[in-house]
Amino acid sequence: MQISGAQMVIEALIAEEVEVVFGYPGGAIMNVYDEIYKQRSFQHILTRHEQAAVHAAEGYAKATGKVGVAMITSGPGFTNGVTGMADAYMDSIPLVVISGQVPMSLIGTDAFQEIDAVGISRPCTKHNYLVTDAADLPRVLKEAFYIARTGRPGPVHVDIPKDVTAQIATFDYSKEVELETYKPTTKGNARQIKKAIEAIASAKRPLLYLGGGIINANAAELVREFSKMTQIPAVETFMARGTLRYDDPLLISMLGMHGSYAANMAMSETDLVIGLGARFDDRVTGKLSEFAKNAQIIHVDIDPASVSKLVHAHFPIVGDVKNVLEQMIPLAKEQIDPARYASWHNTIANFNKLHPLSYTEEGDRLKPQWVVERIGQLLGDDANISTDVGQHQMWTAQFYPFTRPRQWVSSGGLGTMGFGFPAAMGVKRADMERVSINITGDGSILMNIQELMTAVEYELPVINVILNNNFLGMVRQWQTLFYDKRHSSTDLSIQPDFVKLVEAFGGVGYRVTTKEEFDAALKDAVEKNVVAIIDVVVNRFENVLPMVPAGGSLFNMMLEYKEK
């Protein structure tokens, strides 16, 4: 059929079964928005900032496993969206971001709202396109969705000049994609897998090192099966939270910079690391030369460039972690004797007893860790949890009782403040049944606070729990520990009245200073099912502990610190 480029965008989104698009219109994308106005197949959610549109699409993608879609205009609209693309790139989130561009005849003339969008997005997307002919649009959009969701998932950016959206051409949206140069390896090499299983069977202290790739690959169920069958203990990366249930006896906890003592000690003592969809990030490994020093490494990853990038893998296995586990499980059943690791379990139990993850209560003052635990006690599995970036994020990763994959949505690789609230809206849109909580800080929430309007307008009742310490807490913590307490530009004593602020947008606000008030506020917000801010006054000087100072060895943890 002969239709306009703008209509093609709509038809492609329908063909991809997109149910929601987050976006913000502008001059160069208006033809497409005109078609959005006319269609009833998907919902368009108008955010109040392009960055938030992309983060919301990320939250939606994380919660569903589907490709998130964001639509933005040229120039400033596009540059505002870049942070979201970079965030999605770092955390391997499948996205298609469609941006408008000035007409072809004006490209390169420094036209109004022109920027070299594909030049900017190139290093922070999996792939990108500038479409110069409407006849290419069906193929490009088909490829964009395919590339975004296959292999190591990631954001794909499609930049479309305004005249191309007006151009009439033939729309033929094929079912199949054939890209000669792009064929991700999805099945693991059988010989390597056999060797890996033999290594596990003869190891004394094997350790499962679970990464976010497991969540992306929908492989958590298989990981649960594999760990139960083999009785191999596991540590989770920040991105992998929820792979195993929080109360799984085999789960030690999170490892890394703010991981538990037991997790980091287990990683230091293991003789065989079984890395599944984890990329040995510097926040996890600490000092590389000391990381799992006595261990052989099995590394399963869909991205060949991640294997042996930082830590040499003795058993490199490139493939989709779900497929690889399917290949491993029957062999493991035959060859691995779960009784073999009994003394290793004892060692880990001792680590756990020695320094469990904990915090000290101080009279009536609310502790941020308590707030996180309390949300877990009151809502548990019924809530999806997003966070912004900072101390609150680490406390949530440490103390929330996660029970399932995709329950946890946070900005890992890029560490984007302002991510949490729009992402939580995307999560809510994806899962209206559950409560969507954004645990945030008084610094982070202000970075995308304008989205209160979006949440109210589209009835996406996200509950923002601000762990308010009137500080940029994590930077303050580092200043305290490493800069002799020179709190340069981190004191946020002057903050808005968050209650009045959320009320101005049409939501509900609570300021709480006691446990009772917190319980009542959370209960009320959940019952009312409204957009809310719960502004929780917490201890200003609480630190995230334990901590491995950047570049330090995992086994050299700072377990406590007393403010003098």
């Binding site: 290093p123 792939h127 500038l130 000669e180 140069t181 460039a305 042996s308 990038k309």
Partner: protein, 158 residues
């Protein structure tokens, strides 16, 4: 422990499409890898281009470069050459006042010839292994060259 850095030649076969070169170059600059030379041209009777990159790095760095190159969507193949025939070209402009016979003999020795003779200057061309091109450029100095231009390497596995 310092890892040993070595000169490497990498060939990349890519789809012959817009912006593919900037993807390749951007990958190098974005990751802090150095490009010593880069040559690109379409492969005859195909929809591909061949890019020959000369770079330097340890085994680990070069492995990462080839993996990252391969991750780019329009990249079909990446070869890291071990045993190869490698050729580079140089053009040199020399004043006519210099001895034509000596220059001709020298360029002959490096698989070259005189390609242009004008009233004031002549241009000679050599095409040889990069190391031999270095030697030629060293030797040609005595004839007071006015301008020198060298191409990047092209290479094929033996």
């Amino acid at each position: 422990m310092m890892e040993q850095t070595e000169r490497r030649v990498i060939s990349v076969i890519v789809m012959n499409e817009a912006s593919v070169l900037s993807r390749i170059a951007g990958l190098f600059s974005g990751r802090g890898y150095n490009i010593e030379s880069l040559t690109v041209a379409p492969i005859p009777e195909s929809k591909y281009s061949r890019i020959t990159i000369v770079t330097a790095g340890s085994v680990r760095v070069v492995e990462q470069i080839t993996k990252q190159l391969h991750k780019l969507i329009p990249v079909l193949k990446v070869y890291e050459h071990a045993d190869l025939v490698e050729t580079e070209m140089a053009l040199v402009k020399i004043p006519m006042s210099e001895s034509l016979g000596d220059i001709e003999a020298l360029t002959h020795a490096y698989n070259g010839r005189i390609v242009n003779v004008g009233s004031d200057t002549m241009i000679v061309m050599v095409a040889d292994e990069p190391m031999r091109v270095n030697h030629f450029l060293e030797a040609i100095k005595r004839f007071h060259p006015k301008e020198i231009v060298r191409s990047g390497s092209v290479a094929l596995e033996r």
